[in-house]
Symmetry: C2
Amino acid sequence: MTAKHDKRSNVNLAEVAEAAGVSKMTASRVMRNVSGFSEDTREKVLREASRLGYVPNRIAAAFGSEQTSSIIGVSVPYLSSNLFGAVLDSTNDALAKLGYQTMIGAHENSAQTEEVWIRNILSWRPAGLILSGHTHTKNTRELLKAHGVPVAEIWNLNTSPIDMSVGFNHFDSGQEMGLYILSKGYRRIGYVGAEAAAPGLGTLRRKGFLSALAGAGIQCASEEILNDRAGFYAGFYGTENILARDQNLDAIYYQDDAMAIGGIFYCQAQGMNVPGDIGIAGWGSMEAASILPQRLTTTVVSTQALGKTAAEALIARIRGEAVEDVTITPTRLVPGNTI
Amino acid sequence: MTAKHDKRSNVNLAEVAEAAGVSKMTASRVMRNVSGFSEDTREKVLREASRLGYVPNRIAAAFGSEQTSSIIGVSVPYLSSNLFGAVLDSTNDALAKLGYQTMIGAHENSAQTEEVWIRNILSWRPAGLILSGHTHTKNTRELLKAHGVPVAEIWNLNTSPIDMSVGFNHFDSGQEMGLYILSKGYRRIGYVGAEAAAPGLGTLRRKGFLSALAGAGIQCASEEILNDRAGFYAGFYGTENILARDQNLDAIYYQDDAMAIGGIFYCQAQGMNVPGDIGIAGWGSMEAASILPQRLTTTVVSTQALGKTAAEALIARIRGEAVEDVTITPTRLVPGNTI
DNA sequence: CTGAAAGCGCTAACAC
DNA sequence: GTGTTAGCGCTTTCAG
């Protein structure tokens, strides 16, 4: 029982320093690899640290040094989402390479939940935050501005961000697809989405889509916005619902590819021909589309690029380098043969 | 410029205490809601804290109090995985409700990457770890045992865990499916998997499957283990590859449902009838299967239950409550009509 | 290149 | 129910 209390890792810098015959300060410099020690000293300290099984205490370091930790808070709607999964992977990878840790949160498209999480995460004195909330509460905006922590809002492009924004232009993307569908001669066009209770991801695309139709002087024939989470099955029965109401639809725009694929399957199950009887378009370039017999008409996006760009921009800002406040991540409409 | 240095949140407990006319200690007790203050005091302190915009400093708290923080490190192969996404969502949810924060890591099925991440995370003095690595390095095992941090190994059931294990019995699950396929009269059975370079998720299921066949005195007719990540497309062209080598296969067992669905699509594209010409079985009860015209024969698992169980068991152990070292999360073979 | 002193904000332990 | 004292393990000065 050499440890005081019941500490788990009882080796600290002082012991390493003593074993190496130097002061704590010198040992600290070696461990952090900042200048100010000889090669001899370096070797001694590293050898002793390794021999003693020294594990640095980042909590103490974050506390004893400045005002922030090397923690980055990252918040997404769901951790189990094919779109945001790739964002998480790419931000986490980029952040880890730059020496930061990801602390995660899932807000489920609720600005309230996001606010609670932000209050919580701020108590860890994070170096920065990456937020993907569709909207924020007034409190959240005020809190973050007052606090001054660097914040990257991602996913939705936000031209007047709290701090900085990296995102897709969802409105334009929806509008572009609306125009494309119209250009193919479709006129009785429906929309199928999800998460009616907590609108998030698709709202702006839908608005852009509707505005394209309105520009051509036509109305959206029918809309079906389910209460469930977006997914294959939601697309399947959302299509069943919308077609039950309006048999004359000639095309449907879906919130995302998973829903569009669900729609294709519903139509096939009913013996309908895509795009002969009905045209279908999605958003997001989901991997699942690669195995369909037809190529899905969709908007291709790189969630991976989004995450990486956001992480790197945030860290640049944290380090005081010059960065743009607003970055658009490109999207590209790729015609297939489902519309 | 009231702040020393350039601290971002310059309000600390001492200032709240002073404003409320009490000592730091009393304010601390109120903030943490531990006993030892009057209702009057409570109101005063909370009012001042809110008025001043006080954000507690958890770094200082973790440092000043005990030996561990309320951080839980959670490591999965990929953050963008339909199977592990649900695990992350459920662990994160359970941990957040119990007052813990998730610090994330992606090891990409590399025990080396996992080791680096563990060293890193230990420096945050986490209260516990949740690991889903298929294997660990010797160093990792020694480090964790020496350190004494509570560890829940998840996903694979491990009967001699570092500390505790919550998982599926993949071997039995694969064996059960092997027996089922045999019971349906199939004899020229193949296996299609992925991630050959970094075997992880499916290895034990494959072994169980092979052992079932061996028990019946037959050999696996053909195996195709790709180097790519498991997914729809990997299943699609894995099937193309295996059928190119062996046209006489009458059934294929896939690493997971996404791959099995890819296989179904390949067969359909070739005009093959499932299960007439070839039987197909998967693992994991993926949501995408719900929209198929046929019901996929698969093993149903609850990754959500796994995550929740693991998180709660880990916290119970951290709190010193009695918990089993090993917990099996049930799986269930659900016959469909693809085999 | 190296070291000594001070202190970060909080909480455990102990008084009162 | 409340306050006082000490100290967590590191890093930031500032001296040499």
